[in-house]
Amino acid sequence: MKRSNAPIFWLLFGAGGMLSALLGAMLVFITGIAVPLGWPLHGELMSYPRMLGFAQHWLGKGFVFVVIMLFAWHAAHRILCSLHDIGIHKGPAAKAACYGAAVVVTAVAGANLFRLGF
């Protein structure tokens, strides 16, 4: 029986799943609800100078990149498997669409975070 390459994608799926389970809700709340509404966090929390400083620091840059990357690869693998569940075979087209999207997201995020400098 041929060895499957699934472990690579499954480990990324697992890491992304764990990270999003631990922090996903709070991240969405902070960045998408609390700060934009100005409550219960300060609306200035995501001002340009603060965000630039955050993303230029290696910790901030690294954190944002890891979140984006792991969330994207977790979602790509799970969506590929769900497509299989509703009858769309895990062929080259489906894999290219799902993992390809994760590659694009990772690359765009990585390039722009890098562009911001240190």
Partner: protein, 122 residues
């Protein structure tokens, strides 16, 4: 096998669990757009902030928030199935204990993140 998952509530819950991945992807894309806007400079970033303040965006994030919670709940419920048998002091670590530990870690991590955001001085 068509529509197999509609035939039992157990399978419907499974598909809902799997569907939370769409929310995780959407949020990753939102963060990526943010990174792009930040790299484009202050004007672009302020435009992005204005977009985040729109009712549509806040509503989207409420939906994403619900999905993230559903994801966390189902993740910690399935977590015991992925672990080998652990025996501590002669007693087997139960699935409930493992699930609760996962939730505890999520609550602690989330509070820590919120606290950091609330008290962060740039």
């Amino acid at each position: 096998m068509q529509g197999w998952w509609r035939r039992d509530p157990f399978f419907v819950r499974y598909m809902v669990r799997e569907a939370t991945a769409v929310a995780v992807l959407v949020y990753a894309v939102v963060l990526t757009v943010g990174a792009v806007r930040l790299a484009q400079g202050e004007a672009a970033w302020n435009g992005w902030l204005a977009a985040l303040r729109s009712p549509g965006s806040v509503l989207l994030h409420v939906v994403l928030l619900v999905a993230m919670v559903v994801h966390a709940k189902s993740w910690f419920e399935i977590m015991p199935k992925t672990m080998p048998m652990i025996v501590i002091g002669g007693r087997r670590l139960s699935a409930t204990t493992i699930t609760r530990s996962g939730w505890a870690a999520a609550v602690i991590a989330s509070i820590a993140l919120f606290a950091w955001a609330a008290w962060w001085r740039a």
